[in-house]
């Protein structure tokens, strides 16, 4: 019997990917906007 480890692996992988992906997107966008606003202030 497989004991359903495939479902467990899928669940933990999807959760990690979704949360890390979301966190990364927020961080990247924050960094980008901060840089853009800094450049605009300089101009």
């Amino acid at each position: 019997m497989s004991h359903n480890w495939g479902f467990v692996a899928a669940g933990y992988s999807i959760t990690t990917a979704a949360l890390v992906g979301y966190f990364g997107w927020v961080r990247l966008r924050t960094r980008h906007l901060r840089r853009t606003l800094r450049d605009e202030n300089r101009d």
Partner: protein
């Protein structure tokens, strides 16, 4: 301070994962090892309710003239977005757990259906936040929508009590308030709820900061557009 918050959150999540994957026992009546999805599914559902609760509270504070502030509007939006991510995860994890235990990926059961409705209601809320010409107009529309959408939260939570459902009753907060979990499983569930709550707090903090930057940029773009128009009008009426 924010880095310390992140470090504590990551450590808490790592400890929870170790307990969830290696220390807690499998359960024959819950899909054997698939029961390990409980430590993700229940906390993500809790965070979804918490996030939409915070959105509703912040929206109410925005609507009240005495407490009206852009902060509440931005907090409502930030919390709703994080809530949508967690609601999506709740649905996916529930489906993954349902397949080995119930033999189906999806059932039009009251809890599942009301959770799916919750997901789409707040997706709509996020779409609504992108409309409106002024911050005030956007704030008013979205605050009212958030309060209406929140009605589905208690309905979803109580659906297992109100209707005969395939979904089990609450493990801790059920009709008879009899806790149906103990030992390492109870400890891991509590640890998961605490660590996911920390993660929610951190994500909202990050998203709120981004929302403030977006707001600042929008205001600047509006100012620039107005200045450009005034300049254009001035050129048009100026004598040749």
């Amino acid at each position: 301070m924010k880095r310390l918050f992140l470090a504590v959150t990551v450590v808490a999540l790592a400890v929870t994962a170790v307990f969830a994957l290696w220390i807690t026992p499998p359960r024959a009546d819950q899909g054997f090892d698939a029961v390990r999805l409980l430590y993700l599914h229940a906390p993500t559902a809790w965070i979804a309710y918490l996030a939409f609760g915070v959105t509703a509270l912040a929206s109410l504070l925005w609507l009240l003239p005495r407490t009206r502030s852009t902060t509440w509007d931005l907090l409502a939006g930030a919390s709703a977005e994080v809530g949508v991510v967690f609601t999506g995860l709740t649905l996916v994890l529930g489906s993954l757990w349902g397949r080995p235990t119930w033999g189906t990926w999806w059932e039009w059961d009251a809890r599942l259906t009301t959770t799916a409705i919750l997901f789409f209601l707040y997706l709509g809320y996020l779409a609504l936040r992108r409309t409106g010409t002024t911050a005030d107009e956007r704030g008013k529309r979205s605050a009212i929508a958030a309060l209406i959408a929140f009605v589905d939260v208690p309905v979803s939570y109580l659906s297992v009590t109100w209707w005969q459902t395939l979904h089990q009753q609450g493990t801790v907060f059920n009709e008879r308030l009899s806790v149906k979990i103990d030992g390492s499983m109870a400890f891991t569930l509590v640890a998961a709820v605490v660590s996911f709550t920390l993660l929610y707090g951190y994500l909202v903090l990050e998203r709120f900061e981004l929302a403030q930057l977006e707001e600042g940029r929008e205001a600047r773009e509006l100012e620039r557009a107005i200045a450009d128009r005034i300049q254009a009008e001035h050129v048009e009426v100026a004598p040749v």
